[in-house]
């Protein structure tokens, strides 16, 4: 018996072709990038055989080493700060009654997602320039602060989702059993919130690690993260070393995003 089928986009003619085009466009360049990171030759376009040489060269390149260390420091700090702030923001927006302007607060927390990044970058550039003139400080904190700020909404989203899905009566039960608000948070809310916090922290880490535009504008002279170093290199000689660094970055990002996905899917046990 054939039943009339509901509309199914997969059954439209040309669907397979369009889908294929999308996948090719999305993944072919990345696959090529990865493949050529193992090129034995100097070119990023002509295959001359398999070799690890560009990974070795990137590993031994002092500039790459410095940039990697800087990237990791910034991403770790930014992820910690953004996650802490995001936990507080998520608690404030889910564990209180709706208050005047709660929609506005929600919007403001997510502001970095909506304002064009280049605008934020220029604003930070000007602002930090003013601070630099006033204080003379040119260290790392500008980048950590800037990264923390734009990572907050990314950390906030999974934490808030987790909080909203949590059974409020657990926290009430804990309060009923003489738990003061802080102890209820530590003993009941946080253990349940944990996967959300971890997911948020990892997402923030990846976002910070990959950032170019804001970093490029907010960094002081001589500071380079991996992405800005690569950007600088692209303006000069391009060797498969860039491919190798990109591949490593890609691997880290993919690993973290997969972990994030698994965490946010994990049920409260």
């Amino acid at each position: 018996m054939t039943k009339p089928r509901a509309f199914d986009v997969r059954r439209q003619s040309g669907f397979a072709f369009v889908a294929l085009c999308c996948f090719v466009l999305l993944y072919l360049p990345i696959i090529l990038l990865v493949v050529f990171s193992f090129n034995a030759g100097q070119s990023i376009a002509i295959w001359e055989g398999f070799s690890w040489r560009w990974y070795v060269s990137a590993w031994q390149n002092e500039k790459v080493q410095d940039a990697t260390v800087l990237s990791l420091i910034i991403a770790t700090c930014a992820s910690l700060v953004a996650t802490s702030v995001a936990v507080m923001a998520a608690l404030a927006t889910t564990r209180t009654g709706t208050f005047r302007g709660s929609a506005l607060v929600f919007g403001m927390i997510n502001q970095p997602l909506m304002i064009p990044e280049i605008v934020t970058a220029v604003a930070l550039l000007i602002f930090f320039a003013m601070v630099k003139v006033a204080t003379g400080y040119t260290g790392l904190w500008y980048l950590i602060i800037a990264h923390s700020a734009f990572c907050i909404p990314f950390a906030y989203m999974p934490i808030r989702a987790r909080l909203q899905g949590m059974d409020l009566s657990l926290e009430q039960a804990a309060a009923d059993l003489y738990g003061t608000p802080w102890r209820v948070f530590r003993m009941v809310t946080l253990p349940q919130l944990w996967p959300g916090v971890l997911a948020g922290a990892m997402l923030a880490f990846v976002i910070s690690l990959d950032n170019v535009i804001i970093t490029e504008f907010a960094k002081s002279a001589g500071q380079d993260t991996l992405p800005t170093y690569m950007l600088g290199q692209l303006r000069r000689v391009v060797t498969p070393e860039i491919n190798a660094i990109s591949t490593v970055l890609l691997a880290i990002s993919v690993a973290l995003v997969v972990a994030f996905y698994l965490l946010s899917k994990s049920k409260k046990q």
């Binding site: 039960a173 309060a175 059993l177 738990g179």
Partner: protein, 368 residues
């Protein structure tokens, strides 16, 4: 009269005076509780009974501290508790969905309250052991709460709430998720726990049978108001309002007229012209037309010429008892329930003219 003692001498535990709660404001405002006045005594099994949405949970949560009443006062042992946060109130709650902590074992759940009270580890361990024994869960102490059955979860929730030895235990329909047999078992177990621990229980249910079998006293609620407070027998035999009579058990309503009133006994004239003594409701009508309520098992089927006459419309056999549906002169149906005797022949026929009789004092004059 010493502080905390009510006029009848029993020690007062909870005193609720003129408590009201309105949710929201303006056009969406909803009054869930209106002018609640109750006194709950020490060591009492007190039940809040009413249909869904009548405000039972709201009242219970006001006592626990999760709902902030709009007006009125609430004292426990004479202390005003409305100004205190939930964690500072001497009450524990058994939540309807149990709300066990999923990341803790059964024993850790039960010990949680004592841990929050910063009791020494040795004391916590011994009390938890006691509680596990009390609810017969000793073998499951180290299981996670997701690895035990619904009935066991219910017992853990109970043990967790009892462990800190609260002055009052609040129970919000704790048995509603259980199947019939387990429910009956838990009713008996709850009653046993209450008498063993001597803790005052405030129990919420919408099941009239559960309320009648378990409670020392029942408060019947409807639409945010307390309609009647009394012992199960008092409520069943002498419902003060039509809603109470209707909600608890089956009832016949008969229109009548008060002839005279003496104490709580009213002489009423039935539609047939016959007169009989009935119990009057406190603050009820003192004269004029009223409705009286008569339970089906309190009336008997007689020959014509009794208190009320009518036509036997239907005989329904139920095994333990038989229901006779009689259409009285005013067209309403009066149901009589008679306990069946073994092998007794049915001595009535459908279509017969019959009489209905009941003893003086059995009928209850309703307030409205």
């Amino acid at each position: 009269m010493p502080r905390g003692e009510s006029s009848d001498g029993a020690r007062r535990m909870i005193n609720i005076v003129a408590l009201s709660k309105t949710f929201g404001s303006g056009a969406t405002a909803f009054t869930a509780l209106t002018d609640i006045n109750i006194t709950i005594r020490e060591n009492e099994f007190f039940t809040l009974l009413g249909p869904s949405g009548c405000g039972k949970t709201t009242l219970l949560r006001s006592i626990a501290g999760f709902v902030d009443p709009s007006s009125g006062s609430l004292t426990i042992h004479g202390d005003d508790i409305l100004s205190k946060p939930p964690y500072a109130r001497p009450v524990n709650t058994v939540f309807q969905n149990y709300a066990l902590f999923p990341h803790m074992t059964v024993a850790e759940n039960i010990g949680f309250g004592l841990e929050m009270l910063d009791r020494p580890k040795s004391e916590i361990r011994s009390v938890v052991g006691e509680m596990l024994e009390l609810v017969q869960m000793t073998e499951m102490a180290d299981r996670m709460t997701s690895q035990i059955s619904g009935g066991q979860q219910q017992r853990v929730a109970l043990a967790r709430a009892l462990a800190p030895k609260p002055e009052v235990l609040l129970l919000d329909e704790p048995l509603s998720a259980l199947d019939f047999k387990l429910r009956k078992e838990m009713q008996i177990e709850l009653k046993r726990l209450q008498s063993e621990t001597g803790i005052t229980f405030v129990f919420v249910t919408h099941d009239q049978e559960e309320a009648l079998t378990m409670s020392d006293r029942i408060a019947v609620m409807n639409k945010g108001r307390i309609l009647q407070v009394g012992g199960p027998k008092d409520i069943y035999d002498h419902p003060a309002e039509r809603f109470v009579a209707d909600f608890i058990g089956d009832t016949n309503f008969v229109t009548a007229e008060i002839q005279s009133l003496e104490g709580d006994t009213a002489l009423v004239r039935l539609p047939s012209g016959r007169q009989i003594a009935a119990r009057s409701a406190p603050d009820g009508a003192v004269s004029g037309p009223v409705t009286i309520a008569v339970r089906p098992e309190h009336a008997t089927l007689e020959a014509q010429g009794a208190l009320l006459d009518g036509l036997l419309k239907n005989i329904v056999y139920f095994g333990t008892d038989t229901h006779y549906h009689v259409m009285t002169q005013d067209g309403s149906t009066f149901v009589i329930r008679r306990q069946n005797q073994p092998d007794a022949a049915e001595d009535h026929k459908v279509g017969e003219q019959v009489g209905i009789s009941f003893n003086p004092g059995v009928a209850q004059v309703l307030r409205d």
